[in-house]
């Protein structure tokens, strides 16, 4: 990190919507892989990838669970691509209150895709391995990113807090915070 940058591996799954046949093998494999021991059980409702299917509208979209969000969208877009209307929820990968996708069926807790991290690591996530129609393809690369804190952005945030609460209150809270962190 001498040059002030840090590196990380970016993992990417490319989804070719035209090739999906709606077989849901990805769901099956995902749920099996995350069972303990591996593949001791299958249950697509536990899968971190789901195929959104609307047969009669020719919509087949595998989406992967991203982070949990406690709020749902107040407005939604419809994306029209080549005369086909895709609902925003069909393309969105959040686990949110407006749908049952991406929740543990037993606990209701949110599920999140971990790209099948395991020891030893897999060459490709399970969903990609079992997709025989070339819908899901995997690649990864290293990305270097500036490690410097963006001072300008931090100052904008601090200034707005000072404007709202006054400089003394903000100082007081920061002091309390730093004590808690040290402990």
């Amino acid at each position: 990190m001498k040059d002030g940058t840090k590196s990380r591996i970016i993992k990417r799954i490319t989804v070719n919507l035209e090739k999906c046949i709606g077989c849901r093998a990805c769901e099956m494999a995902c749920s099996g892989f995350h069972a303990v021991p591996k593949f001791s059980s299958t249950n697509p409702a536990r899968s971190r990838i789901r195929v959104v299917v609307e047969d009669r509208k020719d919509i087949y979209i595998p989406i992967r669970a991203a982070g949990y969000t406690p709020s749902e969208c107040e407005s939604r877009n419809t994306y029209s691509i080549k005369d086909k209307n895709y609902p925003e929820c069909g393309l969105c990968n959040a686990s949110c209150p407006s749908r049952e996708l991406f929740r543990e069926p037993d606990s209701g807790l949110p599920l999140k895709c971990d790209m099948c991290e395991s020891v030893p690591p897999l060459d490709e996530p399970m969903c990609v391995q079992v997709c025989r129609c070339g819908v899901l393809t995997y690649d990864e690369w290293e990305e270097r990113r500036d490690d410097q804190v963006n001072r300008e952005q931090m100052e904008i945030g601090l200034q707005s807090l000072v404007n709202r609460y006054g400089v003394e209150k903000v100082m007081e809270r920061i002091e309390q915070f730093s004590r808690n962190v040290k402990r």
């Binding site: 093998a25 249950n43 047969d55």
Partner: protein
């Protein structure tokens, strides 16, 4: 703990509105596997032969295959059994799609319907919560439309729906149960569902299905997937296009229909058009397919994409697979555009794509012959296409002549009389068959047509080539990597099989060899039907990924049962014999076991007798086709033997006439 299966059935009494979750005996699964095997056990125990198709005591059993819901590739079939209104025998038809795995994930191996609901209802299964709900708002709705409406109504986009259309509601004898891109069509299962007042069964499941030895099981799955890939890259030379590749079959992807259009009969299974297929027709039909076909789609956990979404101009999109592609086209002497269009209506109405077109062509022949008159068809258009739509509408509503035609060609002919029976010429055991009329008797096919109790040739054939290869070197090449054979002798049978001369049909394969070949092919279908495996990856195909050598390993690592080739072979024989026992008890005898009289031009009565005698003996059945005491005891079916004795089955040679009238007890509406 149970592996691969859930260990519970759902018992629904529609008369009383009672729902029970009932634990099943693990011993039964080891002996009869699941799907068809355990369905047959239930039908034997609970549906005595006095029960008619439309009796409240008839059962309609939706059985998932033993391995459905596990990662076994292409294992997604629901096996539906009941007493057929058409054949009055056991009907068992399967559907692929997504319903069976969903039911497993909901925690059940089977749904067993009995009794009759006072009004039209649907069943809603969500894990442990099961309800019978009013479906009066769905009356008359299409089967595909019903599925969509129910998913919306329940706000359950992931629910799977098995539904009937208007044909089932009106108890058309060849009504189907439709589900996604698939249907259980043969034998009038949809009519029984309609008779019970059930419009649909909707399922959503979020529970686990467990494997006994996961690592071993997954390794087997990987081997199957690698072999599927290999077969995709290496089509089998020397056979017709649909048999060269895997699939159930790939009718939606393959454009070359020379073989079907020139070898299958047109109209009411009579007219062969030997030079039909031309470059121009090939171009036109390919264009039709490409214009109407959306995308190729698959069933649960299968890479084969045998289905397709079809959007005929001006009609809603629907899903199709398999041979309904051509049955309407050929029955109406029309083109592919017509066939794909009317199949949309037929799918929504929910009718069998084999029987329905033939019934309509039969009606038009009777009109042409003057047995029926213009007065029977008021307002019917002049053109063939228009007539087919008119007839379909009248049949599914049971209006006018449609009320008679809705009973299928056998019963309709009897009701019409005046020599109409001659026109119901393509039936086996009262049910319409694929429109094939050939020249020289094929001994293997003779046995399969006679004794195949699924009453559909595609559901018993597959593992052994349909015809000899002319060149010996091609035969040698074929057997080289034919590891699926249960015994090396099958390779020799095929190597020695010539197109002409001493070792050609009808005298070769010899009756003994025919027994081996038919038995092997049938066994693989019966195993598929108990496991829930699609025949398109297995028994329907030459050199399939699933076979007698890897199936025992799949079952033992999946369920934990001890299973080897011998145990599996015996289990399959056990429930296959039980299927025969159910039909035997319902009066089926040797006289019923024959192909349509005009199926082959060149017949050999003595050879045919020898074939049937040899096969019956081989199977352990007596000269009437009834399983013997020794056979039954060997299979642990002592209870069947006791019942046979009690009912005097062995002394009944079937001389008594079968039931005189159709099971229909009058129109519903």
């Amino acid at each position: 703990m149970r592996f691969a299966e859930t260990g519970y059935n759902l018992e629904i009494d529609l008369t009383r509105g009672n729902i029970e979750r009932v634990a099943t005996a693990p011993e039964d699964s080891a002996l009869y596997l699941g799907g068809l095997g355990t369905n047959a056990k239930i039908m034997w125990e609970r549906v005595p032969p006095e029960v008619d198709a439309f009796s409240p005591d008839n059962l309609l059993v939706f059985g998932t295959g033993l391995l459905c819901g596990t990662p076994a590739i292409g294992c997604n079939r629901t096996i539906v059994t009941t007493i057929s209104p058409q054949t009055q025998l056991l009907a068992f038809s399967m559907m692929g799609g997504f319903w069976a795995p969903e039911l497993k994930y909901a925690g059940y191996d089977k749904v067993i319907l009995r009794g009759k609901s006072p009004g039209l209802v649907y069943v809603w299964i969500k894990d442990d919560k099961v309800e019978i709900r009013d479906a009066s708002h769905l009356k008359g709705k299409g089967a595909v439309e019903t599925a969509k409406l129910l998913c919306e109504e329940l706000k359950e986009p992931k629910a799977q729906v098995a539904a009937i259309g208007m044909a089932g509601e009106n108890r058309v004898y060849f009504a189907s149960i439709e589900q996604s891109r698939s249907s259980a069509s043969r034998g009038g299962l949809g009519a029984v569902m309609g008779d019970k007042g059930v419009k649909a069964i909707v399922v959503r499941g979020t529970k686990d299905i467990h494997l006994a030895r996961p690592a071993e099981f997954m390794h087997l799955c990987d081997e199957v997937m690698d072999y599927i890939k290999f077969r995709g890259e290496n089509p089998i030379p020397g056979v017709i296009p649909i048999l060269a590749v895997l699939g159930s079959p790939q009718e939606m992807a393959i454009h070359d229909e020379k073989w079907h259009t020139e070898n299958f009969m047109w109209g009411n299974a009579r007219v062969r058009r030997k030079d039909f297929w031309s470059e121009e027709i090939a171009r036109e039909w390919t264009r039709t397919m490409e214009e109407m076909r959306g995308r190729l789609i698959s069933c649960y956990n299968c890479p084969m994409h045998c289905g397709a979404t079809i959007s005929p101009p001006g009609k809603p999109t629907y899903m199709m697979k398999c041979f309904s592609k051509l049955t309407y086209t050929m029955a109406a002497f029309s083109d592919l555009a017509f066939g794909l269009g009317i199949a949309q209506s037929a799918t929504e109405y929910g009718v069998d794509g084999y029987s329905a077109p033939q019934v309509m062509a039969f009606a038009l022949e009777l009109l042409e012959a003057g047995i029926l008159t213009e007065n029977d068809f008021p307002g019917m258009p002049e053109d063939s296409e228009g007539r087919f739509y008119w007839l379909l509408d009248h049949i599914v509503r049971r209006e006018g002549i449609g009320d008679i035609l809705a009973n299928g060609t056998y019963w309709a002919a009897g009701q019409i009389g005046k020599g109409a029976e001659k026109y119901a010429h393509n039936n086996i055991k009262k049910q319409e068959q694929l429109p094939l009329k050939l020249s020289m008797l094929n001994p293997v096919y003779f046995l399969m047509y006679c004794t195949g109790e699924k009453l559909n040739i595609t559901q018993i054939e597959g593992q052994f080539p349909q015809a000899a290869f002319p060149a010996r070197e091609d035969r040698e090449a074929f057997v080289k990597d034919w590891f699926q054979v249960p015994d090396e002798k099958f390779k020799q049978y095929f190597l020695d099989w010539e197109v002409r001369g001493e070792k050609s049909i009808p005298s070769y394969p010899t009756p003994e060899m025919c027994c081996d070949i038919v038995d092997w092919q049938e066994r693989m279908h019966y195993i598929d039907d108990a496991l829930g495996m699609c025949a398109g990856l297995s028994s329907f195909h030459l050199k399939a990924p699933y076979h007698i050598h890897n199936y025992p390993k799949f079952i033992s690592s999946g369920t934990g049962f001890d299973m080897d080739e011998a145990t599996l072979t015996k289990a399959a024989k056990r429930y296959r014999t039980l299927v025969r026992a159910i039909n035997t008890r319902r009066g089926m005898r040797r006289k019923d076991e024959k192909p349509p009289a005009d199926h082959w031009k060149k017949r050999f009565p003595e050879l045919e007798k020898e074939l049937l005698d040899t096969y019956y003996t081989f199977k352990g059945w007596n000269e009437q086709g009834i399983p013997t005491e020794e056979t039954l005891r060997d299979l642990g079916l002592d209870y069947v033997y006791e019942e046979f004795l009690k009912r005097g089955v062995y002394s009944d040679n079937g001389a008594a006439p079968s039931q005189a009238g159709p099971a229909m007890t009058g129109k519903e509406v």
